[in-house]
Symmetry: C2
Subunit: 132 residues, 2 copies
DNA sequence: TCATTCAAAGACTTTACATATCCATAATAT
DNA sequence: ATATTATGGATATGTAAAGTCTTTGAATGA
C-alpha cells in the first residue's frame, strides 16, 4: 500500500495556497505547472478539496483557488481524508465470532498515524521556512 | 491506500501457525480452506514469509508450513514488511532543494504506526483468547 | 524404487484502481 | 461580446492486486 500521487499533489497545492495571499485566487494552470502535472487532472483533485470545504474555486478571468478556512485549521489529516477517503486501511473480511483481534491491532496502529497527521499543520511548515 | 488482502491472509495464517504445535507442519490446503482462499494463491503469499525467514516449508507427504523462529519474536510489522515491502508509504517525487518538508511529516506519521506494529505480537492475541 | 503427497515457481488471466486526457458546459471579469 | 477559468462526463492508459493453471522438484512411505 502506498499513498496515491493525488495526495502528494493535494498536499503541495495546499501548501502553496496557504503561503499565497488569501485575497487573490491562484489559477490551476499555475498550481499545475509548478508541480509538472496537467491542469485538468489537478483540477479534478482540487474539486475534492472544494467539496470537503477546505478551499473554494472562483470561475472566470482571474479566477482560481483559494482557502476558504483559517490556515491554522488545516491539518494533514483533513487533506488526506479528502483525497484518500476515510475508510480504515485494514479490513478483515472473514466472519469471526466478534470483532477480529488482528483488525483491532491494525486499527490501533492506524490511529497512531492519524493522531500525528491531525496535529501536523501546513502553516507550521511555512514557519520553518520550507520551500513549496 | 489500503493494506492488501495478501496482508490479511498472511496475518491470519501466521496466527494459526503460532497457535499450532510447532512440531507438525500445517498443510497449505488446511490453511487456505479455513480462510476461503485458493491453496496456490496462499502458497505464493507464504513463500514471501519463508524468504523473510519467519516460517519454513516442508515438502512431501505430511509436509506444510511451520514457524522457524520463536513465537515471541514475531511482530505484526515483520509480517507486514514481508508482504507489503519496506518502502515508505509516501514518496514526494518533486525536486526540492533539500528534503521535502511534507514528506518529512508523512514519514514521521508512518513511524508512529510502525512503532505500534513493532510492539504488537501475535502471541499476545492468543493469550487474550482470540479465535483464529 | 516407485507412486503419492506436498510446496515452489513461472506463465498467464482477470479485475480494480490510479492516472491521466479530451471536450463540452457553465460561470465570471473586462 | 469575448476571453478566461473551473466543472463534469466520457474515455483511454497504465499498473498493481488478486487469482488460476500447470509444471517441476522435494520428501515420504509402502
Amino acid at each position: 500500500m502506498r499513498f496515491t500521487k493525488a495526495t502528494n499533489y493535494a498536499l503541495h497545492t495546499m501548501l502553496m495556497l496557504v503561503s499565497a495571499s488569501p485575497a487573490k485566487p491562484v489559477s490551476v494552470q499555475k498550481l499545475a505547472e509548478s508541480q509538472g502535472v496537467s491542469p485538468t487532472y489537478l483540477s479534478k483533485i482540487l474539486t475534492r478539496l472544494v467539496k470537503a470545504g477546505m478551499i473554494e474555486s472562483i470561475s472566470g478571468a482571474n479566477g482560481g483557488y483559494r482557502l476558504s478556512r483559517n490556515k491554522d485549521d488545516i491539518t494533514f489529516l483533513d487533506i488526506i481524508h479528502a483525497i484518500e477517503g476515510t475508510a480504515s486501511l485494514f479490513e478483515c473480511n472473514f466472519v469471526h465470532g466478534d470483532e477480529c483481534s488482528i483488525q483491532a491491532v491494525m486499527k490501533e496502529a492506524e490511529k497512531k498515524m492519524e493522531s500525528h497527521l491531525r496535529k501536523a499543520k501546513l502553516v507550521d511548515l511555512l514557519q520553518k521556512g520550507a520551500n513549496v
